[in-house]
């Protein structure tokens, strides 16, 4: 009799836990369907329509896809995006990692350094882009002044089709702070016992770095790599403000081209098509990175 009661009570508690479990994730779950899954599917359907938002949508079949293949600016914008991602991405990672390693040193005033290194990252992008446009100014800019001091020739930077993309990469490198902070958290999460054990085994500083720090940090490197690449693929604001895609379309990135089509020319269907192409490329690339992860990412507690 008592036993039955307890089972009943237990079951009720279990149901209560289920109920509240779902209730608490409900905002996120509803958001997932409303702002993520729903729109994702809708944008795929949109690729088969022509729609200017004002009038009702027209079924267009494969028209958008046909147009995409013939549009020379699609190739240009994808190549520009690839340049920015594959050169800027690894540089970003390297700078952020080096900074995090330095900021993990036990020296006096390290807090001040950490704050200073993070400042560029919290700067509103529009403001920092304006600031860098002024620094890159070919005639009165600070950068060319310093280059001249070093005996190097100045560049036309944002006005030169060859130098515009590197200029934007330099601009974005200034804000390496988010990746840096994540690296820093990873570094602080490495247990001190591991270093002590390695030191007792006679490992020098360099060996400890290669055999303790690096393997323990690979999950964080992997995370930053993936998230960093996804963000780079969608670069928009700095080019929108600083160059507007020019000169000669040299900074016309995929996202910028998408924005123009969707929000300036009101071609929602074509915009969605461009979005899906970029999405497919990003997805493919992310999956590729996951495929290689097993070879170099080390997870604690994983049996090899």
């Amino acid at each position: 009799m008592g036993w039955h009661l307890r089972v009943g009570r237990r079951r009720r508690l279990l149901w209560q836990e289920y109920l509240f479990g779902y209730l608490f994730i409900l905002p996120w779950l509803a958001g997932f369907f409303l702002w993520t899954l729903g729109p994702m599917l809708a944008s795929f359907v949109l690729t088969f329509t022509q729609w200017d938002v004002l009038t009702s949508p027209q079924w267009a079949g494969l028209e958008n896809w046909r147009r995409l293949v013939q549009d020379p600016l699609v190739g240009v914008s994808l190549l520009n995006t690839a340049y920015y991602t594959f050169i800027g991405g690894p540089l970003h990672l390297l700078v952020a990692l080096s900074a995090a390693l330095a900021l993990n040193l036990p020296v006096r005033g390290i807090r001040v350094y950490r704050t200073v290194y993070y400042l560029p990252t919290i700067t509103p992008v529009v403001a920092s882009t304006l600031l860098w446009m002024w620094i890159f100014n070919p005639d009165f800019g600070l950068l060319n002044y310093f280059l001249n001091l070093l005996g190097l020739p100045g560049r036309r930077w944002l006005f030169d089709p060859v130098w515009a993309k590197p200029a934007l990469i330099i601009m974005s490198l200034w804000g390496f702070g988010n990746q840096m902070v994540i690296f820093l958290a990873g570094l602080q999460g490495i247990p001190a016992e591991l270093y002590e054990a390695a030191a007792i085994d006679g490992a020098g500083r360099w060996q400890r770095f290669w055999h303790v720090t690096v393997p323990m940090l690979t999950p964080v490197i992997f995370f930053n790599l993936i998230v960093g690449f996804i963000a780079s693929f969608q670069v928009f604001t700095i080019a929108f403000i600083a160059t507007g895609g020019g000169p000669q379309n040299s900074t016309l990135f995929a996202m910028l081209y998408l924005y123009r089509n969707a929000f300036e020319y009101f071609r929602m269907g074509y915009g969605a098509t461009l979005a899906w192409v970029l999405f497919a490329i990003i997805l493919l690339f992310t999956l590729l990175q996951f495929r290689t992860a097993g070879r170099w990412v080390y997870y604690e507690g994983q049996i090899k």
Partner: protein, 297 residues
Amino acid sequence: MTQSRLLSPVVLPRSQRLVRTIRRSMGAFIAHAFLLPIGVFLLIPFAWMVSTSLKEKGREFVWPPQFIPDPIVWANYPSALTYMPFHLFFRNTLIITVLATIGTLLTASLAGYSFARLRFPLRDFWFMVLLSTLMLPYIVTLIPTFILFTALGWVDTFLPLIVPYWFGGSPFYVFLFRQFFLTIPYELEEAARVDGASYLRIWWQIMLPLSGPVIATVTIFSFIHHWNDFFGPLIYLNSLENRTLSIGLRGFQSLYQSEWNLLMAASTVVIAPVIVLFFAAQRYFMRGIVTTGFGGR
């Protein structure tokens, strides 16, 4: 034995101790020699911005560049601020940022608590879904979301920039909250459960008060994100009186393209509040980031 060797300082002969001290200060010296120049290098653009913002019209084009403006023109600030209603932009940005951040904190911590502590069917599945949306490029949802908000008549209101954040904020914040809640000992809740406290109450009265660092981290991340957001306001806000600081600054740029002193004054005004906030909260921020430690698990 190794334990005790690690814990108690090893007594060394004096000469060796001296070598060790020298080595340590050499190390500190090298660290500073690396950290300091980079720090200065990172700050130069800010200094240049403030310097330019105080220059007399036309003096910003003096070559070689003048680092300390002569004369110092404070009036650039009032003029930049009156050319456009920056006080309105400031108010708008603040409203959006505060409301979106509150929504984020409430719903992300609630979901984080559920994922960390409650057991329910498919929990791990949903958590995997959450993690994978972390890697979802926003472009793929952009256009339909815009169409949805257009259909709702929300364009040129703050709603599209606030309401979505009352739905879990961002998966990254849910993740941060979950990771932090996992580090809180179970015993505290057990006691409350025995006393018959509901899950909602445990979340509100036990978990949240213990979560200072992660709340600080998420608040700062979210605050910076919304304060600096450009793309959202760009597509959703049209009229002048609805603009945020970022969009206002962009509008300012298209009107006063080559008046760099005014542009830099306006930029300084836009940047200053975030920097002040960050300085005030950076201790909690770094601690939050570190204790949440995404390295593990």
